[in-house]
Amino acid sequence: MSVMAASLGLATPALAQSTATTVYMPAVIELSGPGAVSGTNFRDGMLLAVEEINAKGGILGKKIDMPLLDTQSEAGISRSQIQKVLDNKPYVIFGPVFSGSVMVDIALTQQAEIPEIVGGEAAAITQKGDRYVFRTSFGQQFSMPKIANYVRDGVKAKSVAIVWVNNDFGKGGRDTFTKEMALRNIKVVADISTEAGQADFSADVVKVKAANADAIFVYLNEEESARFLKEAKKQGIKAPLIGETTLLGQKVIDLAGGAAEGVRGHVGLTVDAPIPAVQEFAARFKKRFNYLCDHNGIKGYTGVYFVKYVTEKMGKFDSKLFAETAHGLTITPKQEPQMLMEATWDKNGDIDRESFLGEVVGGKQKIVQILPKLGK
């Protein structure tokens, strides 16, 4: 019977486990389906880190064994894959990036007391008192206040139009942002949902125009951001276009051509940060995978080094202890250069970093101001 179980491919392969010389740190991420762009960035970031670390002899002398499991951007499948790796007693688990999938999986990892280093940014992830989930980037409840302050103080807007992509990423950002606007009593005069993979933004831009708000907050994925910017330029939108990380990314700038000029906003994590370490990383990444990595690449990369640092700090592989150690921990570039920037994990597993206010000038992202960590 057990033979049959194996032959049915139901029994999980035994070789995938921590051994004397390797540590099993699987990654369950979006490698196909709508999430594939973020997923591959995240993956390549991790791979780069793993290669570097293993080349230097691994963590505490153990090489990292990181199988990649695709979730097809599907919550149900993501759950099955998490279950699969949990059966093999992983040290920690990386991913997923889609918040929906994260929400399914953290229930399991918490039960199994295995730390999960996620890429999801939805606020809810860290608001469940889960002791085993750790972010690699700002949750929307951290990034949106920053951008909201900027809209109030930087742009001095009294009214704002929101253009968002109707998936869990876009909706989450939109909801949090709307809340922050209310707190600063800035009127949301247009609230425009767009579809992922939408080609023609003329209708949306027309609406934005009609609303004539003091500022326009654009929260879309990369290609859609680019298409929107093109259309906005075409129809001569005058109001400042404000974005969060994606909108100011080099990818969008390249795709949108001239249309991204003058776009402003908050940048959580960016390869364009005025920090040598980050730019060296970006160069290494480009050299290795020959494409320009986005913030998900940095998330994956620093995520692995985060695990490395914590483990070496503990001096042993202990998933439970990992969770305890990592909460409230601050890692400075001095302690671990490849963390790229100083980062702190609070008691919920939320990450706090410096972030930036940027502007697109001459086809490049120019950082105009560095925002301190919230903790300071």
């Binding site: 594939a36 762009v37 023609d200 009609a210 609303a211 129809q235």
Partner: protein
């Protein structure tokens, strides 16, 4: 929120441009259906792929025009000939459903192939003409969307002439409408069917060249495109080339108008509602003819 009627023209024109591309794809879709009862659920991926052929060719240093040519040829071979011989032919005699399953699988196959063997990242794609914004009334129309419109219309007209004014075209139509009779009339039915697949190959390649500058070449492009073209084909008339064109244009414009004046959250719903209405009230589609052949 009120949207000024002045923007109406704006929406109309850009809707027209997008609709024209939908039309191209829908036409190919109906051609396959007419001649071989193939419901090609991979049609969207057929449009996604040629862009990557072209980019690949350009990576080998080919100039755009040459690369485009290569792209068209490749898509005629791969998406026309190979598709017909390897996937459609073996299954024709087994009815519609097995083939439907195959084309669904094929769409997954092509998506994954583009992702794994080229890139998961969206790729910039050269435009046919430099984008210059022209101001007409209150509307701003960029030259590239005009170019898109022009090429699409030209293609459709050419196709129309081919189908109605040439002997070849008439035999193809005969094949489409009544293969048995066509065979009796001595028309080489099998070759005619093959031709429609070749034509589809050309159409999707052109559509790909037109839409990739806007969409950017990305492996997921087919998903929305395919479905929209599919709806366009049915709304316009599943078995009429003219109908497919009408359907495409309707959807392009409808999408913009509904998003601007009714609801952007439900912009995707209107084509579906129209589809249901059309099928229930006029199953053969707006311009379609009643099918004498049940499938």
């Amino acid at each position: 929120m009120r949207v000024p009627m002045a923007s109406f023209i704006q929406l109309l024109v850009s809707g027209l441009a997008t609709g024209a591309i939908y039309a191209l794809i829908a036409v190919g879709f109906t051609l396959l259906w007419q001649t071989s009862q193939t419901i090609n659920f991979a049609q969207g991926e057929f449009v996604m792929l040629p862009a990557f052929f072209i980019l690949a060719a350009m990576n080998f240093g080919a100039p755009f025009w040459l690369a485009a040519l290569v792209g068209i040829v490749l898509s005629v071979l791969v998406l026309g000939v190979v598709f017909k011989l390897i996937i459609v032919d073996p299954m024709l005699k087994h009815g519609v459903l097995p083939l439907v399953i195959s084309t669904i699988a094929l769409s997954l196959f092509l998506k994954e192939a583009a992702k794994d063997f080229y890139s998961s990242q969206a790729q910039p794609f050269p435009t046919l003409v430099p984008a210059v914004d022209l101001h007409i009334f209150d509307a701003v129309i960029s030259t590239d969307s005009l170019a898109v419109l022009a090429v699409a219309v030209a293609t459709v007209v050419a196709l129309h002439l081919l189908l109605h004014k040439t002997r070849l075209g008439r035999s193809m139509q005969a094949t489409a409408q009544n293969p048995t009779l066509a065979r009796i009339l001595g028309i080489p039915v099998r070759r005619m069917v093959l031709y429609t697949f070749l034509i589809n190959g050309v159409l999707v390649a052109i559509a790909s060249i037109l839409i990739s500058p806007i969409y950017l070449a990305k492996f997921t492009n087919g998903e929305t495109l395919g479905m929209t073209a599919f709806l366009a084909a049915i709304i316009g008339g599943f078995n009429q080339v003219r109908g497919a064109i009408l359907g495409g244009v309707i959807l392009g414009i409808l999408d913009n108008l509904s998003a601007a004046y009714i609801s952007s959250q439900y912009r995707g719903a209107f084509p579906l509602l129209i589809l249901i209405a059309v099928i229930l009230l006029r199953p053969q589609g707006l311009l379609g003819r009643i099918e004498e052949r049940t499938v």
